[in-house]
Assembly symmetry: C2
Homo-oligomer: 326 residues x 2
Amino acid sequence: MSRRAEGRGGRGPDVPDLVARARAGEARAVARLISLVEDGSPSLREVTAALAPHTGRAQVVGVTGAPGVGKSTSTNALVRALRDDDRSVGVLAVDPSSPFSGGALLGDRIRMGDHALDPGVFIRSMAARGHLGGLSWSTPQAIRVLDAAGFDVVLVETVGVGQSEVEVAGLADTTLVLLAPGMGDGIQAAKAGILEVGDVYVVNKADRDGAAQVARDLRSTLRLADRRDDAWAPPVLTTVAQTGEGVGGVVEALAEHRAWSLASGELTRRRERRARAEVEAIAVAALRRRWADVGGHAELGRLAAAVAAGESDPYAAADRLLQPEP
Amino acid sequence: MSRRAEGRGGRGPDVPDLVARARAGEARAVARLISLVEDGSPSLREVTAALAPHTGRAQVVGVTGAPGVGKSTSTNALVRALRDDDRSVGVLAVDPSSPFSGGALLGDRIRMGDHALDPGVFIRSMAARGHLGGLSWSTPQAIRVLDAAGFDVVLVETVGVGQSEVEVAGLADTTLVLLAPGMGDGIQAAKAGILEVGDVYVVNKADRDGAAQVARDLRSTLRLADRRDDAWAPPVLTTVAQTGEGVGGVVEALAEHRAWSLASGELTRRRERRARAEVEAIAVAALRRRWADVGGHAELGRLAAAVAAGESDPYAAADRLLQPEP
């Protein structure tokens, strides 16, 4: 291991060196860069700036679905199929976590051991700190790391709780929604949201009763959706992730969506939307820090006390907060 | 119905009149004010300002717990017990909704018909628009309406999905966490979070097997918590909400927590924290609108395009966004 990347006499990591090593395929450097962005380290800005010129090549695929549809098994099968196709794959698995404890409930999942020795695969669990069941703010930065490191495909697997599929759709170039037979009312309830985010639908556990029915229902519902003639028509595929059956078809569908997104300009639109949300989130976080800073701008505490006492109202207080300091 | 409150020749509602009528106990005026804040109407600011001097008297009680613990039945029983105690009650039931459709999944629940003719009870369902399973941004404003209208207690019932108990704890003076026997692993997983937000714990369905065990486990876990000597020790009560058994004890516990909060200064601390979060959220929303405004500050679109193209990074772009305009 290079000593330089570990810190130059307490001056923090050697970011350019780490980025160069990550781009040369060194898994350790990739892991270290993700840790730097995940921990919100002081070098976060430097890391993000160093990555920027190397990003934009990977296909970012969001994999989502309700608990029980076989997300991990499907991700595993997808990784294998992509590798058979000679494409390198980075995987980010996002776990829910408590905003109070800051710790991941499920812990760092050691799994998908099949790929442990394959340098073309990198797998990382991420906590969804402070974000309700969704994606942590560092997920987009971790995607950048894998993208810059040269992975052809970045799979972002989210635990499908509530509306996280909506968030992953905001991050991904292509969103893969997983379903399975026998999920009952949960699916029904989630359907409305799911139908608007999927680019590719996969009914997993296709060897079970009811799978064909789920696929049929989904196809007819999707046909009813009001789409423009040149819009992407999301395919509905079936798989048995456990055996790999049908997974090749999913890989093809992902490639087709990629080609369509590039040709239609949809890829650029999504990436600009994503960048916009990201820049906004970073700006807002910076403002929150500025407001919380008692030395610099103690205003917020004073304004909050006045609102709590009924002497002011929150809108008037917000106006005051946004007024430029004299 | 007063014609004045319906709009003065397109100039919007007569807010002072609505507030006066709400304070005089007119349910229609209360409902209209909540609609105004919920719809984000142009008069939202005026409404909030008009309410401010009349707020701060009600006890805001958050009622939360996993699906299946009997939240609605418990809320219903609590309303009855509070009415028996001659206290007026406003209820806000917050539903999950899709951020895409904007519509509540569960619809506007017509229920708790027992109280339909009682002027001392006001019940309203609210959508949790754009917020993952949690509380919509208009919930704090709706609480203000009920507080200013003079309700002694405002119950905010949230559908316990994921971390919404954490959010309701942020809004409430007193948080009531409901549990029930036989909820299995869900409870275990949620326990860590639940143990930090409850001021009063209620094991409902106490006539079922395992209820005493749940209460015992909870008590011993709470005893392990590291609390200061003068801190509130959350009681663990048992109820059968269906029959009303034990609900009187819950009402007493709520009153005791109220008295302790007032005496210890905790009420002020919580309300200032709440006001702070609210002012911050409103300020951030105002900034987002400003940034999205193509006429005034088209910067964000241009910055996002540069980030998407790899020409800039999101931190540098956020810095630029926050620079004062020349």
